[in-house]
C-alpha cells in the first residue's frame, strides 16, 4: 500500500525550511507551517518574555499570547524583513503590557506583595553565594525590579539577546538614541541595585 499523506513526514520536511518560508506558508493559512514556527521560536520567545516579566509561568502565558497575535496578524508580515525582528517586536510589546498590568495589580495589593518580595530577595541573597548562570538569571530578576518597562526591554534585548541597536529601535518603535539612553539608564540603575542588594556578591567578583 502506498503512503499518500503523512503529517509526521510533512512536519519533518517543514523543519528544514527557513523561518521566512514557514512564515509565508503560514500567511497562506498553512497550520502545519505555523505550528513548526511556534515550536522553533518558543524557547527564544519564552526566554525574552521571562527576562521582561520576571518569571517562567507568566512568560509562558505571554508566549502563547505572542503566537496567537502572530496568527491573527500574519497577513501583515512583510517577508522583506526579518521574522525575528517582527516576532521580537510583538513579544516585547506584549511582555511590557503584561508587566505594566502586573505592576498596577502589585500597587493595588502593595503591602502583601512587598512582604513576599522581601522573602524572595532574602532567598535570592542566599542563592547568590554560589551564583552561576541559573542564579544570575534569578539575580537579574531581583535587581531589575526598579527598571522601567522600556529600560528593561532594551537591556534584555541588547545584553542578553545581543540584538543590534538598530533592530531594538525597530522592535520598540523608537530612535537609536532613545535606545542608547534607555541602556545607559538601565546600567546605572542595575549598578546601584547590585551595590544596594548584593554588595558581597560584587566583592566576591572583584579580582585581587
Amino acid at each position: 500500500m502506498e503512503l499518500v499523506y503523512s503529517e509526521r513526514l510533512e512536519r519533518k520536511g517543514l523543519t528544514e525550511l527557513p523561518d521566512r518560508e514557514l512564515a509565508i506558508q503560514a500567511r497562506g493559512g498553512d497550520m502545519l507551517s505555523f505550528e513548526t514556527l511556534v515550536c522553533r521560536k518558543t524557547p527564544a520567545v519564552v526566554s525574552l518574555a521571562r527576562r521582561i516579566v520576571g518569571n517562567v509561568e507568566d512568560a509562558r502565558d505571554v508566549a502563547q499570547m505572542v503566537f496567537l497575535r502572530v496568527w491573527k496578524e500574519i497577513h501583515r508580515y512583510d517577508e522583506r524583513y526579518s521574522l525575528n525582528t517582527w516576532l521580537y517586536r510583538i513579544a516585547t510589546n506584549l511582555a511590557i503590557d503584561f508587566l505594566r498590568s502586573a505592576r498596577s495589580r502589585e500597587k493595588a495589593h502593595g503591602a502583601t506583595l512587598h512582604l513576599v518580595r522581601e522573602r524572595e530577595e532574602s532567598t535570592a541573597a542566599g542563592a547568590t553565594r554560589s551564583a552561576e548562570d541559573g542564579e544570575l538569571a534569578r539575580l537579574f530578576e531581583a535587581v531589575s525590579g526598579r527598571l522601567s518597562e522600556k529600560q528593561k526591554a532594551v537591556f534584555v534585548l541588547r545584553e542578553m539577546e545581543d540584538c543590534d541597536t538598530k533592530d531594538i529601535a525597530r522592535i520598540l518603535g523608537c530612535g537609536e538614541s532613545t535606545v542608547r539612553n534607555h541602556l545607559f539608564n538601565a546600567r546605572r540603575i542595575l549598578r546601584k541595585e547590585m551595590v544596594r542588594l548584593y554588595p558581597e556578591f560584587l566583592r566576591g567578583r572583584t579580582p585581587a
Binding site: 497550520m31 505555523f34 505550528e35 511556534v38 515550536c39 518558543t42 524557547p43 519564552v46 526566554s47 521571562r50 527576562r51 517562567v56 509562558r60 508566549a63 502563547q64 503566537f67 496567537l68 496568527w71 491573527k72 548562570d133 541559573g134 544570575l136 538569571a137 539575580l139 537579574f140 537591556f155 541588547r158 545584553e159 542578553m160 539577546e161 545581543d162 543590534d164 541597536t165 542608547r180 541602556l183 545607559f184 538601565a186 546600567r187 542595575l190 549598578r191 547590585m194 551595590v195 560584587l202 567578583r205 572583584t206 579580582p207
Partner: protein, 184 residues
C-alpha cells in the same frame, strides 16, 4: 592573565558606551563567558557586565508542547470567531441590500399606493407597458405582501437578478428587478 585579556579589558569602556563595533563586541562577550577573571574585572567596573550574556533557556520540550496546545486551542477559537463574524457580516450585507432596494422603490414617486396619505388625490393609473400583466400589484409590478416574487414579475421582458441564489432560507433573499417596459 593572558595578553588577550589585557587587550580586551581596554575595551570595557567602549562596550559600556555602546561604541564597540559588532565583531569586537562579540569577541568580548565570548571571552567574558569563558574567562572568570575578566568577568570579575568587568563586574567590578560595572555590575551590569554580569548579565551581558545569553541566559540559559528554560524551555523543556514538554513545555513547548504545552504552549503549542494552548496556541492550537486559541487559533481554533480565533478561526471560529472569524467564521461567525463573516456569516454575520454577509447576513447584515444581505439585509442592508434588501433594505436599500426597498427604500429605492418606495422613494420613487408613484412607487407605492400604500404610502400615499389618505385623502390625497389618487395618482393616475400607470400606463401598462406592452405585455405587462394586469395582475401586478403596483405600478412597478412588485408583489403585494404575501405573494411570491415570481408572481410579481411586471412584464415578460423584465429581468430578475437573484443576488444570493442558493442561499439558505435563514438569509434574506435579495433580488434586483430591471423592467425596461416601465414608464416612470
Amino acid at each position: 592573565m593572558s595578553p588577550i585579556c589585557s587587550i580586551l579589558r581596554e575595551s570595557f569602556e567602549d562596550y559600556l558606551g555602546d561604541a564597540l563595533p559588532a565583531p569586537q563586541r562579540k569577541m568580548l562577550r565570548e571571552h567574558l563567558a569563558a574567562c572568570a577573571e575578566c568577568l570579575g574585572a568587568a563586574a567590578a567596573k560595572d555590575a551590569s557586565f554580569l548579565f551581558a550574556r545569553p541566559m540559559p533557556g528554560e524551555v523543556a520540550p514538554d513545555e513547548t508542547a504545552r504552549i503549542l496546545l494552548g496556541v492550537r486551542a486559541g487559533v481554533g477559537h480565533i478561526e471560529t470567531e472569524r467564521r461567525i463574524g463573516g456569516a454575520r457580516r454577509r447576513r447584515f450585507a444581505g439585509a442592508a441590500a434588501a433594505a436599500a432596494v426597498a427604500l429605492l422603490v418606495l422613494t420613487i414617486p408613484g412607487g407605492s399606493d400604500a404610502r400615499r396619505e389618505p385623502g390625497a388625490a389618487a395618482l393616475p393609473a400607470p400606463v401598462p407597458s406592452p405585455g405587462t400583466s394586469a395582475q401586478a400589484g403596483s405600478s412597478f409590478g412588485l408583489a403585494p405582501a404575501g405573494l411570491a416574487a415570481e408572481a410579481a414579475l411586471p412584464s415578460p421582458g423584465a429581468t430578475v437578478y437573484d443576488l444570493n441564489p442558493g442561499a439558505d432560507r435563514a438569509e434574506p433573499r435579495v433580488v434586483w428587478i430591471v423592467d425596461r417596459g416601465l414608464d416612470i
